[in-house]
């Protein structure tokens, strides 16, 4: 698997390939079933076995393959992924029966790296398809409990000072298929791909609300989209004044149509449904509107038959993206376990990894960018000896919240409760190297 060869570098020298081997460093076991010390993989560089294999002589054609014998194609106006990466696309696409645009697609987490999801691979959740909006005739109305009801054109918004933040967006229905009694045999992205990370840029909603002059009696606002479902959610005014954005940009360019072009609400860390796309209206109110989505859909049934309204923040969560189902092990040896962790309440403080189903744990290394309400990449070195194992990751956020086990999460959950599933994911690695979803 190419991911796991990433520390190997090769140099062409005198017609022969030789591997550059980093100074050997002893890799010390840190937890059961071959988990190694934190950061030990990076320090050690290439393992001895790999080095020996790369010392072999290579055919002459490898020295100058076809693409090095004539000039390649020229420049392009908008680049595309390499043809060999055509399999990396949104997955788990489904729409409610009788519809084509009332459903979701998922990010292929098992094929992605780092903490930014390419915009074209960001998950989608639509209620009535993707509207085609002419930005020149689109406005956002702010009205209700304000001194001055205001209309903002897209040209006007583009002149406002903007902020940019690397943050995740997660549908609160993400991972809900794991409520099934038997573990679904799906890929990491099919199971957990209703989360994506982007650099979101836009105008703080507080700036626009201040210009409209929010009245003292206001406590909520109702955000509404310009799709055919005119999707709407009630949002606490406190969140709007804290860190809400009217997002215009995603990963350096204008929003993609399926992510709300030309403007969307973005509420960091809160359930994705509230970050209303194709934003057309902000209605400032004293009370929530009790829309269909916030009452009949995104509420949480309790075992006693009551329901919780307004469970906004997404809880601390992590998942190992590699190895994972569909990314089979390529024989015993050194591997990098890699995954993402996130919390709607702030930064990730630590992630622990187990290779023996939770009997022992080692603290994973966090990549440099550990940002609030953002995907955080973690890695851990693993010397797989070819015997079966169960991989787990467990995240802790800066508030001290710990990702629960599935058993703990399910112990007090109503049969009809679907949203906010954040339990520890277990991947079983078999002797043949295959990886399967299991409950532990």
């Amino acid at each position: 698997m190419s991911d796991h060869d990433s520390t190997v570098t090769q140099e062409h020298s005198g017609g022969k390939l030789r591997a550059r081997i980093t100074e050997p460093v002893e890799l010390l076991p840190a937890a059961g079933n071959g988990l190694l010390g934190r950061r030990s993989f990076i320090k050690a560089g290439l393992g001895a076995a790999g080095g020996i294999g790369l010392m072999q002589a290579v055919p002459a054609s490898a020295a100058r393959p076809g693409h090095m014998r004539s000039p390649g194609p020229g420049m392009s106006e908008y680049g595309s992924p390499a043809p060999a990466e055509a399999n990396v696309k949104r997955i788990g696409i489904g729409s409610q029966r009788g519809t084509t645009g009332s459903g979701a697609s998922r990010s292929p987490l098992e094929h992605l790296h780092g903490i930014v999801t390419p915009s074209g691979l960001h998950f989608e959740r639509h209620h009535a398809g993707v509207p085609e909006i002419d930005p020149a005739s689109h406005n956002i109305l702010i009205h209700g409990l304000v001194k001055r009801p205001l209309l903002f054109s897209m040209d006007a918004l583009a002149r406002y000072p903007t902020v940019s933040r690397l943050q995740f967006l997660e549908c609160s229905g993400n991972s809900g298929t794991l409520l099934a009694a038997e573990p679904p045999q799906l890929s990491c992205g099919e199971l957990h791909g209703l989360v994506s990370g982007s650099e979101w840029g836009g105008v703080p909603l507080a700036v626009l609300l201040d210009e409209a002059g929010v009245l003292p009696s206001a406590r909520w606002l109702v955000a509404e989209g310009a799709d055919a479902a005119v999707m709407s959610r009630s949002v606490p005014l406190a969140k709007a004044m804290d860190d809400a954005l009217v997002a215009l940009y995603q990963n350096g360019e204008r929003l993609r149509p399926e992510n709300g072009y030309p403007a969307r609400l973005f509420l960091p860390g809160w359930e994705g449904n509230m970050s209303v796309k194709w934003l057309r209206r902000i209605y400032v109110t004293a009370q929530p509107a009790m829309t269909k989505d916030e009452t009949s859909k995104y509420s949480d049934l309790q075992p006693d038959g009551s329901s919780l309204l307004f469970t906004f923040p997404m809880a601390v969560k992590s998942v190992i993206t590699s190895p994972s189902p569909g990314l089979a092990m390529q024989g015993p040896g050194l591997y990098q376990i890699s995954g993402i962790a996130w919390s709607g309440s702030g930064r990730i403080r630590r992630v622990d990894v187990s290779a023996d189903g939770g009997k022992s744990w080692v603290q994973a290394a966090l990549d440099d960018l550990v940002l609030p309400k953002s995907l955080t990449r973690f890695t851990s070195a693993w010397r797989w000896d070819g015997s079966p194992g169960v991989l787990l990751s467990r995240a802790v956020d800066e508030t001290g919240a710990v990702q629960p086990t599935r058993e703990s999460l399910m112990s007090n959950r109503a049969a009809g409760a679907f949203y906010h599933y954040n339990a520890i994911q277990a991947w079983r690695v078999g002797e043949a190297g295959e990886v399967n979803n299991v409950y532990v």
Partner: protein, 173 residues
């Protein structure tokens, strides 16, 4: 000594400072009442936002057959899409059935949602009277109102939903 003219000017400056946020681009344009009315689709639980008009259960039966039955089934039993009726008393069981009657806390949500999003293939095509009629019918097949019921801006907010007291706010502003 102040003349009436200078007093007027200073008042105007005070007013401007009061209205406009300081040090902000202030590029929004003032929205007229007509513009707001054209945008505003929200119906609040207290009935704010409900339009004039009315509709009966009897009128709703016919409309439901034409506009809703294909996806939601006979008398809201469900089909291609969500079940809309029944399921009463099921919420605390191993097989909860969430419908308008068994689950929804506010009747006003029906008018709000139908007006903004239904029917799926042609949202925005129903008149206020038609939406009131469908609302009345959906409440009727859920046993919330009787077959004589007529819904309008005064009656609808007063409808008490069976599961209305069964919601707890996890967030208090």
């Amino acid at each position: 000594m102040f003349t009436s003219k200078t007093v007027g000017l200073s008042l105007a400056i005070t007013f401007a400072t009061f209205v406009y946020a300081a040090e902000s681009p202030n590029l929004g344009t003032l929205a007229s009442a007509a513009e707001i009315a054209a945008y505003d689709l929200t119906v609040m639980p207290d009935g704010t936002g409900l339009p004039v008009g009315s509709g009966s259960v009897a009128q709703g039966v016919r409309l439901y057959t034409e506009q809703c039955l294909a996806c939601h089934g006979t008398e809201g039993e469900g089909g291609l899409n969500d079940r809309l009726a029944g399921g009463h008393g099921s919420l605390a069981t191993p097989a909860p059935v969430k419908t308008i009657g068994s689950f929804w806390p506010y009747a006003t949500t029906l008018f709000d949602y139908i007006r903004r999003a239904m029917p799926y293939t042609e949202p925005g095509s129903l008149s206020s009277d038609e939406i009131y009629s469908l609302t009345a019918y959906l409440l009727y097949i859920n046993g919330v109102v009787d077959d004589e019921a007529v819904m309008d801006a005064r009656v609808l907010p007063e409808v008490v939903m069976p599961n209305g007291d069964n919601f707890v706010w996890a967030y208090e502003p």
